[in-house]
């Protein structure tokens, strides 16, 4: 018995077309343009003429400068969150995993909080397994410098150097960025 061979003509498979990125690019561009428009300040919004016809800054603009300057000098606090108990903690700075083992007393995160956030800060208790340790009190600028320095220097802490090479971190587990 001869089996008839059935030839089915098949078209060669075409590689799938990558999804068109044009629409996505257009949307991004429109968004960027609107963002620039709304973020931009016009000259007329910040400057006015006085009674003599001389230019001067509008009072709202001056007040903003004073408020921003004041914020840089208000009393703030640089703190550390440390593990209260040994165990697994979320890791936002780990390149290849989302958790890490920390021993009791090891740093989880450095941060800064200011007097202006006292109300929110007062309601933000540490989670059960972290202890909030203020380490420095000063101006926002000083505290920010302290915070950044500690994050940058974290890799050299003994607690990090004592880990296996593959487990050593570039930043504390709770600090995904340098700031």
């Amino acid at each position: 018995m001869v089996l008839e061979k059935i030839y089915i003509e098949q078209k060669p498979l075409q590689p799938p077309k990558p999804p068109s990125k044009d629409w996505f690019r257009i949307i991004l561009l429109v968004f960027a343009v609107f963002a620039l428009i709304f973020a931009a300040l016009y000259f007329s919004e910040v400057v006015e003429k006085d009674e003599h016809g001389n230019y001067r800054l509008k009072s709202e603009r001056k007040e903003k400068f004073e408020a921003d300057s004041l914020k840089m000098t208000e009393e703030c606090q640089q703190y550390a969150l440390v593990a209260k108990v040994s165990g697994i903690y979320p890791c936002f700075s780990c390149p290849d995993r989302d958790s890490i083992f920390l021993n009791e007393g090891e740093i989880w995160k450095y941060g800064v909080t200011c007097n202006g956030e006292k109300r929110r800060y007062g309601n933000k208790m540490p989670t059960q397994d972290l202890v909030y340790l203020p380490q420095y009190t000063g101006s926002l600028l000083e505290c920010s410098i302290m915070e950044t320095r500690k994050i940058i220097e974290y890799p050299l802490l003994p607690e990090n150097l004592n880990r296996k090479p593959a487990d050593r971190l570039a930043r504390p587990a709770g600090n995904p960025y340098d700031k």
Binding site: Y89, P90, T113, M125, Q128
Partner: protein, 144 residues
């Protein structure tokens, strides 16, 4: 500050602190938490409270507000009280333990007044008595 991540600990009782870093070694948070979790069950005092979380506040500047709040969604009862900073800084080990024990007991009295706890059952008097007995057994406070 954001604390939106989920931590592992799911014990009936948790004790933590907001404390100036140099005074941190004086706090014996682990002792408190293990003692309470070993001998007491929160369900003996309330059907709706699943976890009782106490925070010692020992800070000199930018001192946070005390918090007394029940979170219905999670069943967490939060209590944070401020410790006298100067007194704690000068206290020896025994005095420091006594201050912590007394503040923890003081916190229990806030439970019926906590936000979200009105008209919700919690046998705080029994809880107070049981905790006090534990602290007396440990020698942290004196028996009256």
């Amino acid at each position: 500050m954001k604390y939106e991540y989920t931590m592992r600990s799911n014990d009936d009782f948790a004790v933590s602190a907001m404390v100036w870093h140099e005074l941190y070694p004086k706090l014996k948070l682990g002792l408190f938490q293990s003692l309470l979790c070993k001998h007491l069950k929160i369900k003996d005092y309330s059907e709706i409270v699943k976890h009782y979380y106490f925070v010692f506040i020992v800070m000199q500047k930018l001192v946070p507000q005390e918090t007394h709040r029940f979170q219905t969604k999670t069943g967490f009862l939060l209590n944070s009280l401020i410790m006298d900073y100067d007194k704690f800084a000068q206290a020896d080990e025994a005095q420091a333990m006594q201050m912590q024990a007394e503040l923890y007991l003081e916190g229990i009295k806030y439970i019926p007044k906590s936000w979200g706890m009105k008209k919700r059952p919690f046998d705080w008097q029994k809880f107070y008595t049981d905790v006090r007995n534990l602290f007396v057994e440990q020698g942290w406070i004196k028996e009256n």
